[in-house]
């Protein structure tokens, strides 16, 4: 976020800073009317079709797609940081298995943050050296947290694999198929950045204090953990998993609609139209599910989506990205309780980009409050 509005510009806004334009950004464009999401000018559908997560993360952070040389350098930088401190993984042994995987993951990050190089250096150069390490360490730690759910030991990285493939290898303990890698890569790409949402804003406040980029990411994860924000992909999947076939899905949806129930994975503060991330991922999820002989699950999703959108679409409520990612994570073999973790892996790219954009002249973010007398 750059170029915070000049001091003499009044704005009108509501509770929760609703409607306040906090600043300018050159990273993502969200169009909630036409249903478009662009990173640095590129539509996400285009990026999914042509790019890897490595290229897209470079784009989101740096502003341009990498030349072949720069891509090679970025890839090797990412590979270089694939081994997080042992202490961070060992910390899992000190945590109860019943803890939420995201809380275990968070704890590993806080322990890793006790072992980072140049920890107290908050110069801009030092901050720019951090994204590769954060992306790769968090990938390894996320995989360890996911394996810990099943009581399985961590799996080491493979330096030959790309970001998505290596994460799946370390999470699943097996080499993923090309279709799995492509699908997971696409899920990373469409979730790599989403403007100044609450988690990105929390990260900005932290970076504005001069804290390191990893501390900003931890604040973002906190916001994402909340039921109102990031836990929805798990809830949406669990809702669908309880439905046996499309007929049951339709009947259940009608009954739930009649009760006025809310559906996790539907509706979005920005998109009052079909979510562009859903449209980009749907064909990929459908193909993956059918390869796995899980086409019934795809039919359940379609039945539920159509039923809910027919009733609520006129009010601007459509399936959002949380309803579709589970249909990629599940056939790959990731457990539903861990679904928020891959979302964190992807979206932290955007948080870091916003922080790095804000830093050069970033004033400490410190708004006020009105004291109520009564």
């Amino acid at each position: 976020m750059i170029g915070i509005a000049a001091p003499a510009s009044p704005q009108r806004y509501g509770r929760g800073l609703d409607g306040l334009v906090a600043g300018d950004t050159r990273i993502a464009e969200l169009d909630g009317v036409a249903g478009r999401l662009l990173y640095r000018g590129y539509p996400i559908g285009d990026l999914v079709a042509h790019c890897s997560f490595e290229e897209v993360s470079y784009l989101v952070l740096n502003g341009e797609l990498p030349s072949p040389d720069r891509l090679e350098a970025w890839r090797s930088e990412l590979v270089r940081w694939r081994r997080p401190p042992d202490r961070a993984i060992e910390a899992l042994a000190r945590l109860p298995r019943r803890a939420h995987p995201l809380a275990q993951y968070r704890t590993m990050l806080t322990v890793a943050a006790c072992h980072i190089p140049e920890a107290e250096d908050s110069s801009l150069d030092a901050q720019w050296r951090r994204p590769a390490r954060i992306l790769s360490w968090t990938s390894a730690l996320a995989a360890a947290a996911i394996r810990h759910l099943e009581g399985a030991p961590p799996v080491g990285p493979s330096d030959e694999l790309g970001f998505a493939a290596n994460f799946l290898l370390q999470s699943l303990g097996r080499t993923p198929t090309a279709a799995e890698v492509r699908a997971f890569d696409a899920s990373l790409i469409v979730q790599a950045e989403h403007g100044l949402h609450a988690a990105a804003f929390a990260a900005l406040v932290v970076i504005s204090t001069g804290a390191d980029l990893g501390s900003a990411v931890l604040a973002g994860i906190g916001a994402l953990s909340g039921a109102r924000h990031g836990g929805a992909n798990q809830l949406a999947f669990e809702m669908m998993a309880g439905l046996a076939d499309p007929d049951q899905a339709r009947l259940w949806a009608r009954a739930a609609l009649a009760r006025g129930q809310r559906f996790p994975g539907f509706g979005h503060r920005v998109y009052r139209c079909p979510d562009p991330r859903v449209r980009a991922l749907e064909p990929i999820a459908e193909e993956l599910l059918s390869r796995r002989g899980l086409s019934e699950r795809w039919q359940v999703y379609l039945a539920l989506r159509d039923e809910v959108e027919r009733a609520l679409g006129p009010r601007g409520i459509f399936a959002n990205v949380d309803s579709i990612t589970g249909l990629i994570y599940h056939p790959i073999g990731l457990p539903a309780t861990a679904f928020p973790i891959p979302f964190c892996l992807a979206i932290q790219t955007g948080w870091m980009a916003h922080c790095l954009e804000y830093l050069p002249d970033g004033a400490m973010i410190e708004p006020g409050a009105v004291y109520l007398d009564r």
Binding site: P66, T107, C114, V370
Partner: protein, 400 residues
Amino acid sequence: MTELDTLSASFAWRARDLEWPVTTEVGRGLSGVVAATTRVMWLDPASGTLSYRGVPVESVAGRWSFEQVAFLLISGRSPGDDGAGFEAFRERLRSSRRLPPEVTALVRDLDPATHPTRLLRAGVSALGCWELGADDELSGDRHWRELRIVGQVAGLVAEVAAHRAGRARPTVDDRETLADGILGAVTGVAPDRADGDLLDLLWVLYAAHGLDAPTFTSMIVASCLADPYFNVVAGLSALCGPRQGGASEAVLDQLAAQPGPEHAVEWVRGVLSRGGRIAGFGHRVYRMPDPRVVILRRELARLARRRGRPEVFEAALALEHAATAELAPRGVHVNINFYAAPIFALLGAHPALVPCLFAVGRMAGLVALVREAIDDVRLIRPLSRYTGPPERRVGSASSR
């Protein structure tokens, strides 16, 4: 719609009620923006008033314990009016200082030379794993209301301090105040009454101070309905930066560099003429001396005398006068860190530990403000304006 005159410091606002939306000016770092309404505290930069739930801080400083002030801030009730409620609160606060052995072990596994705020954050995160399971209500509201986390942070800070000093942490004694428990861990000996009271006073003065970065970060995270451990880990992350955590160190370095009270004026002029800054001066909110400074100046004088180190106070006072003479005409005044830093040092705390000690006091205001944010049930999320490149297409890799 409510029109608010924007002052350079936003806490001058006081109203019977506020009707949203509001119109304000929007400055750098969102200064001038109203992010919340609060009944917790009021800070008036013009008159130098700081009050907690309508009670001026001067009237509780030195009279009320930190535990009493925390109860006032969090519950909105005076401990005198709700004796039974306060007793239960205090019991919970003190007993939550006992930590699961695995959490202690996790902290002890880490290098004691790590910045203490990072150790504290790792400990809070681990505690959250023990306090809340995957099947618990995600918002963690129940736990929030139990307020254990305030006591737990105090317990962890004691653990971190003892680990740093290479000692075992003294056994938790429920008859002991939070301040005594921590001082015992910091110094390795049972604290005397006056020292315990002084740390308590520091916490009372630090308990709440508007939407500072740790508090505001926690409020944003809480507004997403995250559990309290996610909130506090995020809040502590905002304490990891030098702008928040390093102030104390800078003040002490500056005092150590003092050639002597009689040279304070030349020294200050020298620093300023080289474009340097005087640590412990300047505040975003106040355009007058921070009201808490008056109290701490007196306390540093007493403590320095008790320790047989009157020169510490004399050096600080001379420096304050010299710097005020130069800076006050520019609207830059002494802030609370200027006197808090040498007090923390004389109490035996290494400067790196100061942000952790500060955090214990600030937890009271943070919990109180976060609870208001949860009750307000509104996601905190501003907008941004896109000014990047227009739509373009991905070319072939070879064309890049």
